[in-house]
């Protein structure tokens, strides 16, 4: 299991464990993290699982593909360096301890 932490927009920390091979979005859904809507359930179709990745972890992530990058360009308050869709981050041992922030709005 891989430990990860969600920091909600009001500063609450949700610490959880998730299976390798699942996504950050699935971990959020399982842990009932507020602010992650994930309407399309991980199809990279909606952009409602937007998160800001803690800068320390950015080098360990694969780059966003075109579909994800295009969706991210239109999310509420995008951060070109740190914005990702949680459904597109697959958890691996290299990401143990990952910290992501949840935006105040998925609009």
């Amino acid at each position: 299991m891989i430990a990860l932490t969600f920091v909600t927009h009001d500063g609450n920390r949700v610490e959880t464990l998730a299976r390798a091979g699942t996504t950050v979005m699935e971990a959020a859904r399982t842990a009932n993290v507020p602010g992650i809507l994930a309407e399309c359930g991980g199809a990279c179709a909606c952009s409602t699982c937007h998160v800001y990745v803690d800068p320390n972890w950015l080098p360990k992530l694969d780059d966003a593909d075109e579909m994800e990058a295009d969706l991210l360009d239109f999310v509420w308050q995008p951060d070109a360096a740190r914005s990702r869709l949680a459904c597109q981050i697959t958890l691996t041992d290299a990401l143990a301890g990952l910290i992501v922030e949840v935006p105040a709005n998925q609009g």
């Binding site: 859904r29 399982t30 009932n32 359930g41 199809a43 179709a45 909606c46 969706l71 239109f74």
Partner: protein
């Protein structure tokens, strides 16, 4: 305290239960589903699940521990037999009955099946709605098998895409003059027809199914043009009917689904409905949506109504489909459009179709063009419309499409 009983443990029922707790409800909550599994996502069934790219447990919306932890009593494999609108009671098939403080109907929709008289009950004939439907279909989807898809809507097209990807010989028949006739413009239909034909799918438009023939298992299909097509299996994707039987028997008003107001209230006090089964007010009329986002958001609106903090539900319709390497995203509802503007995308193979009614943007179909989809979705939700001439000109960037709001507001 009497429980809140949610009938139907799909996407809407699950969202409703979770939202009740999130809003601080302390009532016992019983979430009752007819299927033997916890609430799960249906959209991947005709996509990644059928392709074998996602395992069963990952379809579940929440782990079972979630319901325990939240104090939601999840009752699976259980059918509700009847509702009593006067006493607000729910009766189960085993004879038990419980009095409720509120009843929420999230009963979803059922696929329309072919009648027995035309071979609809033969072995090898499948529908595509539930996990058990998909589980039955997976072993039949062997390379080389000949599959007939009946119906050229999105479910039929998704099944065709998976079948072709897995090496089946695919024929799709659509009774209407073209595929997607009920849901998309001719431009979108032609685009998807060409996509499927490029993957070897034979699409026959204006051709219906007369009968399926076989001794126990389907062997051939007789089409309306008289041809007889040898088949190994058939997937029927001819639409769904809202599941209204319980509501109807209990005397609730039905109007293309269980009739609810903007707060999700049915015609009977204390009984609510949300998701695919419910029709609700929309632009002076009434619609019923078959989509995950509507199931979630309408269910959450009902939870708020039950908790006394309800607000009128305003649907923000959107849809998606995956076929081969194409992602289709749809924003808005296109009914009533009188023009379609085609806008080539920034990347090869990407394009979007923008539906207008006069100057007003109603909807967009975006094929591998998430930027067009996101732009249009934001505009539609904000009540803005871009100038059609600018939409048609790909040299005008999406982020600087001039809107025609001033023009619209000047009209009486």
């Amino acid at each position: 305290m009497k429980p809140i009983v949610i009938v139907g443990a799909g996407q809407a029922g699950s969202a409703l239960a979770a939202k009740l707790r999130a809003l601080g409800s302390e009532a016992p909550i019983r979430l009752v589903g007819a299927e033997p599994v916890p609430p799960y996502q249906r959209p991947p069934l005709s996509k990644k699940y059928l392709l074998g790219e996602v395992e069963r447990e990952r379809l579940y919306l929440r782990p079972e521990s979630f319901y325990e932890d939240a104090g939601i009593e999840l009752v699976t494999d259980t059918r509700v037999k009847a509702l009593d609108a006067n006493t607000l009671a729910v009766a189960f098939e085993d004879g038990a009955s419980i009095a409720c403080s509120a009843i929420a109907l999230c009963t979803g929709a059922e696929p329309i099946r072919l009648p027995e008289a035309v071979g609809g009950t033969l072995g090898g004939v499948f529908t595509m709605r539930s996990l058990s439907d998909a589980d039955a279909l997976v072993p039949a989807f062997r390379a080389g098998a000949r599959v007939l898809i009946v119906g050229g809507g999105y479910i039929g097209l998704e099944a065709a895409a998976v079948a072709a990807s897995r090496g089946l010989e695919v024929t799709l028949v659509e009774m209407a003059p073209r595929i997607l006739a009920r849901v998309a413009c001719a431009e979108t239909a032609a685009w998807f027809k060409a996509l499927h034909e490029s993957h070897g799918v034979e699409i026959r438009e204006g051709v219906g199914l007369r009968a399926l023939v076989g001794d126990g298992t389907v062997r051939s299909a007789i089409l309306s043009d008289g041809t007889e097509l040898p088949v190994d299996l058939v997937v029927v994707g001819i639409g769904v009917r809202p599941e209204t039987a319980l509501a109807e028997a209990a005397g609730l008003a039905i109007e293309n689904g269980i009739r609810v107001d903007a707060f999700g209230r049915t015609s009977e006090p204390g009984i609510f409905a949300a998701g695919d089964c419910a029709s609700f007010p929309w632009n002076g009329g009434r619609i019923r949506l078959e989509s995950v986002p509507n199931a979630i958001e309408q269910a959450e609106a009902v939870a708020a109504t039950i908790m006394g903090v309800g607000a009128a539900y305003v649907a923000r319709p959107w849809f998606w489909s995956d076929q081969y390497d194409v992602k289709l995203q749809i924003a808005g509802l296109n009914s009533g459009h009188d023009a379609v503007i085609v806008r080539p995308g920034d990347k090869p193979g990407s394009v979007s179709h923008w539906y207008f009614a006069g100057p007003r943007l109603l909807a967009v179909d975006a094929m591998n063009d998430p930027r067009a989809y996101m732009t249009a979705k934001r505009m539609i939700e904000a009540g803005q419309s871009p100038m059609p001439s600018a939409v048609a000109n790909p040299a005008v960037p999406l982020k600087s499409l001039p809107t025609a709001d001033a023009l619209l507001t000047e009209q009486p």
